[in-house]
Symmetry: C2
Subunit: 377 residues, 2 copies
Amino acid sequence: MSDLTALETPAALIDLARMQHNIDRMQARMTALGVRFRPHVKTSKCVPVAKAQQAAGAQGITVSTLKEATQFFANGFTDILYAVGMVPAKLPQALALRRQGCDLKIITDSVASASAIAAFGHEQGELFEVWIEIDSDGHRSGIKPDDAVLLDVARTVHEGGQKLGGVMTHAGGSYDFDTLDALVAMAEQERAGCVRAAERIRAAGLPCAVVSVGSTPTALSAVRLEGVTEVRAGVYVFFDLVMHNIGVCETSDIALTVLTTVIGHQSEKGWAIVDAGWMAMSRDRGTQKQKHDFGYGQVCSVDGEVLPGYVVSGANQEHGIVSLQGSVDVDIASRFPVGSQLRILPNHACATGAQFPVYQALDATGAVTEWPRFYGW
Amino acid sequence: MSDLTALETPAALIDLARMQHNIDRMQARMTALGVRFRPHVKTSKCVPVAKAQQAAGAQGITVSTLKEATQFFANGFTDILYAVGMVPAKLPQALALRRQGCDLKIITDSVASASAIAAFGHEQGELFEVWIEIDSDGHRSGIKPDDAVLLDVARTVHEGGQKLGGVMTHAGGSYDFDTLDALVAMAEQERAGCVRAAERIRAAGLPCAVVSVGSTPTALSAVRLEGVTEVRAGVYVFFDLVMHNIGVCETSDIALTVLTTVIGHQSEKGWAIVDAGWMAMSRDRGTQKQKHDFGYGQVCSVDGEVLPGYVVSGANQEHGIVSLQGSVDVDIASRFPVGSQLRILPNHACATGAQFPVYQALDATGAVTEWPRFYGW
């Protein structure tokens, strides 16, 4: 393993071998299921990561902000789905991207938003490609597959002179399950709901070429994807402890860790204090309500080996408290001396990555390369 | 009020009148108590904010990372306390700052760390000013005031040829209280513990000029500060919902809000979907265990008026769910139409601010100025 002691801590490390394994696993699954794969780059916000996904066979990317769209377009990505409901104030930025040659797709789930898109497109002489967001699991946005308003929105787009490109859904509700049966059922619910919406649109004589579904848990659990044309997923590229608890990865698949340094101890409490607080780990406590609560993260040796039972049990802004779950390790000061390094598996890779301006990409030879990432809006 | 519709959302707004009121309130209190005030700039990581604190009478700043130290020093701040335990790997960066003329103070709470500082200082011919961290409330780092190791550490610094500058403590445990009596008692515990440590060091014939205490709740509750030379506090500059629940501010004092746009609805559930998800609000759920749980934030009109009962009840990365606590507002789509703007009071200003590359500073005339902030390490 490389000499990580040269890195300033806290640092966000990507284990490139694990990342590539995760990319290959997902792409192979999508290819076998006969669908295109459009990774959600909100997880990494990092060009080299998205290029690795593209090299493995991904077609297009999904973004969560127009800043991501702008940055990835500037780095050669053209087929981009902006997967957050479009509002009037953001249309000029979307227009500017399209005018520069970006094949940006936007989404809507209301007549109000669809009308605004159509009016702006007409006024500007632009043909926006619009997909309709479908609510397949009740967890967030979208139109229910059988809701009458679906066809109102579809007609508003199509008859408003815009390109009705398809339908998309995200079964984020899959995060609430942790058995294969439940995940398979949720994947089928996601598929069936989105396909049903597409069929209703087509039956009304309107176009609906794309049927786009996905979340990491459902993408890795689906057994059939008839009627689906593409799948989207984001966090699979790094995985994290939430995904581990859901049951779609092992801890040994988690490619993102936070490198940290021990800065002190409270030995009688069994605490080692590290320089990865919540600013580094993020405030995400996604495993809190799951079957295994990892606090702010699972502690590993600097070589990446899980140290069972040791977690970041508490966090201040720049201080993390490392302790043994269920008992007091009175030898913690000798086990993890001041100045020694540890690595922490995060609860939620999207949230933890977002705390860092750069990743440290660690290859199999131990060499480390700095990979910048975007943030903000 | 200004026309905020020109701002891209989500955006982090600072209400400058509120911020100045908060700065003046704290400074007046510290002056009345006869102590210097050293604001913790980890909350804002923003030069104009720290300059406003300095202009009001603050003496020196506190930082949580060496990057903050570097950035603030580059912007004219010289008296800087780095208030996280020093480790060997960070000494070269501290040295570089001192060699450039930065009056950087560093802290330690162990013989191991103190020895490393002394050895490095000796080797480099540098006289580091070192303060000893005291544990006044058991919540994190530091040496207990009566612990024998206190004098070992003090001697290691002093006899190791470094400058023993003083003692410092942070009663972060004050965040667990919400009555004035409890806060006054915690402030006294913080004061007494730190003063006790200083007296022991002096009684051993060692220097201990500075006695530095503080947290926002204790700084705003202390009734006497005999023996204390300076106080530190950070979040008071913006305040937030956690501080409101603790009882040290009103919601009308909270100077930081997130400006957001309504992007859709699930009317039958009483949900408005906004573009401030957890990436904007942060994952901080600091009010979850307090007397009033505000979800991911309290909703206000675009003019900043609290809309009672409306909170961000759920959050995905770029989606927030706004709903009425305790009932379903079936009229939410007409109340908050697609494209309309709202402002959200955050749980924790330090965490929410950190999600944004810039603040939008809103003055009394309604003019908005972009104020950059630092992030990362």
